[in-house]
Assembly symmetry: C2
Homo-oligomer: 589 residues x 2
């Protein structure tokens, strides 16, 4: 080893030891007679100290030629610092060198390797290998490692077995777009990269492996929105001989365990809320329940008084912003502007201030008496000093906008504390969603999700109202995972494919192997998949998953560091039996 100790290891107990350290030159402070080097590695920083006159002259000369990020090996003695630094674990000591070897030089990095760097996103991504040297980035990857290992240890302790499913699989048109991989041995044919190991984990249940998991890369060729990656990592799980409650219990247990061992945070039992209630009270299937501010529907008290906006609305809905009665006109105008942004899409905002003196002031005083407004305030449980914010219109759009407003108010009121974690289960999702464009139903979760037994009779006549044994794990307003109890009966699965508009042939062609497998004794089963990148980001207190991926791709799906994707040789294409054509316009069918 080119070191006896790491740069994070030496303490006051190590005084007078002869040590060898290796690392990067973080900083050199040269005060003429006295020179300090901050030597850095993954484990910390150790100060190296030279004194002109006392230290060897050639050594001082050598040190004066060092640059930032040079890799050096230092042999020296551990001494007590004259002025200690209580902020770092090695702050009591320093190393006085008697030999320094330059292991490698460095050009001046394009940005500073500090906790707060001067490098912009693009530059840091191009030189990601330098960005990764920064402590905040390293901490994130260490957290990721810790979380993955603890997940594995926990699931192992619960009899789950990790089984690797294949990466080169088969393309299916259902769901998002697949990445495909041309086969050289079967020219004209393709593998596909898995969007998830869904069918394989169900096959494993048919095989009797009743508790499966895998931390696994998945792939989706989608137009990338912010914070989507073409490749991402899932904690993928499946269980047999379970009902929905068993799955929720199992992964509530896992999540609680991870919070405890990784963050030392106790999260209690997870509340459960139906999809319907989530939409009604939060306008979102991933409510942030770190704060209340639930929706209150006001149709019965707000309609029929001549205010057309409300009278013509499908939904009139309000939230109570505690202590915001003091909002100025300017504050309220800002909120209105926020709501009118195209991404939010509300037409306007109605407010009612419940002043400290008990008087009420609203933007609709013309239409409503103080008695009316008091009734609203009561329904919303608003007290003196509070502010009611009310939206009205078509139900879905109004809920959508109100959700945005609620989250915005939560942010303004500092109710979305990153150190607080509030998980919940959203259950009873609809089985299907109607697509106007293609005029057909799509599986909301996926085609293998089982309908609720009590809704089975509606599957053919009212498919839209059938609820599924499907659930999402939501933490702090982020969808961390989702799953369902699957269909294990081949006849029901066939019926489901029919509802989804598959011909028998299409179903057989795409999922034949799964349907065949179901002929041979499939057990009742269900599972869940958690977005690992998101889970880590949440644990790290960040919204962006990209920071928690060692080598992420940008929003155009490019790795700007290695410059990929890129062209390949003619020979490669020829071997694959492929030719590049000018991509046709997207309008062509």
């Amino acid at each position: 080893m080119l070191r006896t100790h790491t740069c994070g290891e030496l303490r006051i107990d190590d005084l007078n030891k002869k040590v060898t350290l290796s690392g990067w030159v973080q900083r050199i402070r040269d005060k003429g007679a006295l020179i300090w080097i901050d030597l850095r590695d993954r484990y910390g920083i150790t100060q190296v100290f030279l004194e002109e006159g006392k230290s060897d002259e050639s050594l001082v000369k050598q040190v004066r030629e060092l640059g930032r990020e040079f890799v050096i090996q230092v042999e020296g003695n551990v001494i007590e610092r004259a002025s200690k630094n209580p902020n770092i674990p090695t702050g009591d000591i320093e190393v006085v060198p008697y030999r320094i070897e330059i292991l490698n030089t460095s050009k001046i990095p394009p940005f500073t390797i500090e906790d707060e760097t001067d490098g912009g996103e693009e530059l840091r991504m191009k030189y990601r290998y330098l960005d990764l040297r920064r402590k905040p980035v390293r901490t994130k990857l260490e957290l990721r490692h810790r979380l993955a290992l603890e997940t594995r240890k926990y699931l192992d302790s619960q009899q789950f077995i990790e089984i690797e499913t294949p990466v080169l699989i088969k393309s299916t048109p259902e769901g998002a777009r697949d990445y495909v991989v041309p086969s050289r041995m079967s020219p004209g044919q393709f593998y596909a990269l898995p969007q998830s190991p869904q069918t394989f984990k169900q096959l494993l249940m048919v095989s009797g492996y009743d508790r499966y998991y895998q931390i696994v890369k998945c792939f989706r060729d989608e137009d990338l929105r912010a914070d989507r990656q073409p490749e991402f990592t899932q904690i993928d799980c499946e269980m047999s001989f379970v009902d929905q409650d068993d799955v929720l219990q199992a992964f509530e247990g896992m999540t609680r365990h991870l919070f405890k061992v990784v963050k030392d945070v106790e999260v209690g039992d997870f509340p459960r809320i139906s999809y319907q209630d989530a939409m009604k009270y939060y306008g979102s299937d991933k409510p942030d329940i770190r704060f209340e501010m639930k929706f209150v529907e006001l149709n019965d008290v707000a309609q029929g008084k001549g205010f057309k906006v409300f009278d013509n609305a499908e939904l009139v809905v309000g939230i109570c912003a505690k202590g915001c009665a003091s909002y100025s006109r300017k504050d309220l105008d800002k909120l209105t502007d926020f709501l009118k942004k195209p991404q939010v899409g509300a037409k306007g905002l109605v407010y009612v201030k419940i002043n400290e003196d008990g008087s009420l002031k609203s933007s609709v005083d013309k239409f409503y008496s103080e008695e009316d407004l008091k009734e609203w305030a009561e329904k919303c449980n608003a007290k003196a000093g509070d502010l009611l914010l009310i939206l009205a219109g078509e139900t879905d759009a109004t809920r959508f906008a109100m959700n945005e407003l609620r989250l915005e108010m939560g942010k303004r009121l500092n109710l979305r504390d990153r150190s607080v974690f509030k998980p919940l289960w959203v259950v009873d999702f609809p089985l299907l969603e109607w697509d106007e464009e293609t005029q057909r139903y799509y599986a909301m979760h996926h085609p293998f999700t089982s309908p609720k037994t009590e809704d089975l009779n509606k599957l053919e006549d009212e498919p839209g109202s059938v609820r599924a044994n499907a659930y999402d794990l939501v933490i702090n307003g982020v969808e961390i995972g989702g799953g369902s109890i699957r269909i294990h009966n081949k006849d029901l699965q066939k019926k489901m494919f029919k509802v989804l508009g598959f011909t028998g042939e299409e179903a057989q062609n795409q999922f034949g192997f799964l349907m065949n497998a179901f002929e041979y004794g499939a057990p009742p089963h269900g599972g869940i998949a958690l977005g690992f990148d998101r889970l880590v980001a949440l644990f790290g207190g960040s919204d962006s998953i990209r920071d928690y991926i060692a080598f992420p791709k940008n929003n155009a799906g490019r790795d700007v560091m290695i410059d990929s994707p890129s062209v390949v040789s003619e020979e490669q294409l020829e071997e694959l039996g492929l030719k590049i054509v000018n991509p046709k316009s997207q309008a062509s069918s």
Copy 2:
């Protein structure tokens, strides 16, 4: 849960408990008055017992309609068996049911779900989900899970951090053929699937993560030989501030730990042998050292006596087969036939029997005196009762054939015991190998492998004789892993690319990001990659990796279960800007 206990759980202590089990009907024995069902799940088999007259009549009727592999739920009481089965952990008890529910039916499986099945390879692969139900297969996947988890726990305990590297990377022409992935967002461009995370792990060393590992899928589009898979799994590792000995110590420690915790086998210190000696004494860079039978070179004692075959040979080499002097002519003819197979390619075999009475008998008595033969025997340390087997010819080919002969003799003499594990390090590999066809040197390991310092001066004039800081971990004649100390100096790396015939532009184009990274303070580093599939197979006592992969592909790279690769839709190709052309003949350049 649809069960209170698993089928492997109940013991004599559970007598009189009311239990619910769920599982598959492994077998029904119906002796008229008495009926037994073997109920199976992942954890074991529990016997369910019914007695006509005593058990409910409808229950008996129901049981008589069950078929093999039906999935049933059984509620019943645990009783002591009249005749116990000491061969299974649940053999003391049985369950007398009062309710049975058929959770799913099953068609009759195409082969028996037994330890010894009647299904052929092809059928089992097509119905892999049924094959996976068989205990010997399940045991293999459980071993794989155990080995992966213990590897992670051990490396974590040694400060290694698991970092996920990307799967969608960039194609490089060096080495084996890449699988490529067309990009829809950048039409005409491609990602490649990694053959290994080599460059990324080196970048992580530049980033200062001085102990990295990953259990990771890798991909190689090669013409598949037996037991090669297009996707395979590696334990991939890299360390900084180390020399070769540090890496060997670290992974010797890991391997020893895995043998201990997973197999309870103590393997001592690993011997180290140079590549040169491995070739000289075993004719192989992956010697099986569970048995001796080392090569003995006989040129000096066998040449110059008029036997042209030996006189004209570059190498005359023998091995001593202990106790084989009694081999008959027929035995020896069989060995000769074995040696003459095209895969072995020897011209013929010379033998010397050292008879029990001390007399010698050889196939070359015409040319050599008994004194001559005695000298050979002495050199080979052959005693009365032993058999010398001698081959001669061009050095490489003769060593190759002799290696095959040695392994064959080891097998015949039962010296290759699957329960014995003998790891060793093969070190000092040549840096380069010459390719006659393309008339250039190729990196034997890869282009980032560092030459031995003492051989550096030969890099330009005698590149073929330069040794590398490269090593293989070999266990029982199987190459389990390989690695090297890398080049961390950009000038040396440039020189290396030059020796490999890269133009500066080519090197920059393919490895530019790595060479750039090396400008910013790359530490000395090195690593290793272990073939995880092979390691598991070795631990399991098998030669075939396929059995240890849940969903393997066949020798044509096909997954016959899901029928992949397969055609994709015209729309998909259009979006990718690709067209399928008739693959040209392989003769075209």
